[in-house]
Assembly symmetry: C2
Homo-oligomer: 186 residues x 2
């Protein structure tokens, strides 16, 4: 992993973006012992129903906790994608829910149907955030799947562990299928 | 409210400190339309089981999202109190769980038995964080009780709404009793 990696998760309120940010941060910070800052900002725009969480993961102590130029952007809405894609560097990675973001920003963007997978394979649309985290871990390798699963299970409501584990695995499998289908990928 | 108020919540892992930070931020940011940044940091120290969340609430857009000098400190462990009390300004407010922090840092610190209240009045020790939020709202007036309740109910697991509402109210009542017992309080 690079010395400092900034990840931004964005979408609409109710999609579990904040929880996804907390889980990703705890996977890296508690389970892998990295230095992590996790931030969410609210303001008058939060009334419009948008949600954004940022995770900064570093091998060293973090001075400035907010993402200044995220290298990874996960978008669960077209609006989030349209808003934040320009903050990425050219080599940045955009991961989107292809069912909710019909207009991909570039041909390099990775589109996977997180919400559809959550609905059809897990029976719970609201687990799209966990599906997305599984895919993000495979695509970025920023945390191990073991750490991510431990962080997920520590945060989700009691009694939903099996469903969440299944959601995580569905995201992992979707991302692995994507990588296999892209032989030019490094 | 002051133009910018910084609040730090600290304790041990598993006490619901991070969730309390998210709820407080959403009460102010989503339900009251303030500008809010909410941050948690993890690092090698997180393995030691400590947890810390910071909420910066402002009438204006926030440039620097991390608490530089919190005016309000909520501590659910002696260790957290011993670590963070020195960051407060002299007029800062320290609120502690009096059952878990036997050694109050100053005579002005507010000690209330959040965990005992949660255990004895609600029957769920793990709701001490919600009890504490209710008290914090009364003692600081940083958010209205209506906004705080809405934010709590939006975040807690389905089926636990009534218990959480009861926990919030128990914290509110405890803080009101405290204020009544302190006639010199302004």
């Amino acid at each position: 992993m690079a010395e400092r990696l900034e990840i931004r998760l964005a979408g609409s309120g109710g999609q579990g973006i904040i929880l996804a940010g907390v889980i990703l941060a705890e996977a890296a910070g508690i389970h892998e012992g990295k230095y992590v800052c996790q931030t969410q900002s609210y303001g008058p725009q939060a009334r419009g129903g948008s949600a954004k969480a940022e995770v900064v993961i570093s091998e060293e102590e973090i001075d400035y906790p907010q993402a200044s130029q995220p290298e990874v952007l996960l978008c669960l809405s077209q609006k989030a994608c349209d808003t934040y894609v320009f903050d990425l560097p050219p080599e940045g990675l955009v991961i989107v829910d292809s069912g909710l973001v019909p207009q991909l920003p570039t041909t390099k963007a990775v589109g996977l149907p997180f919400t559809k997978i959550a609905r059809e394979q897990i029976g719970r649309e609201m687990l799209a955030n966990i599906v997305a985290l599984g895919a993000l871990a495979v695509l970025t390798r920023v945390v191990s799947l073991k750490s991510l699963e431990a962080a997920v299970l520590a945060r989700v409501p009691q009694g939903t562990e099996a469903l969440n584990r299944k959601a995580l695995d569905a995201g992992v499998q979707a991302a692995r299928r994507y990588l296999k289908s892209k032989p030019e990928k490094t």
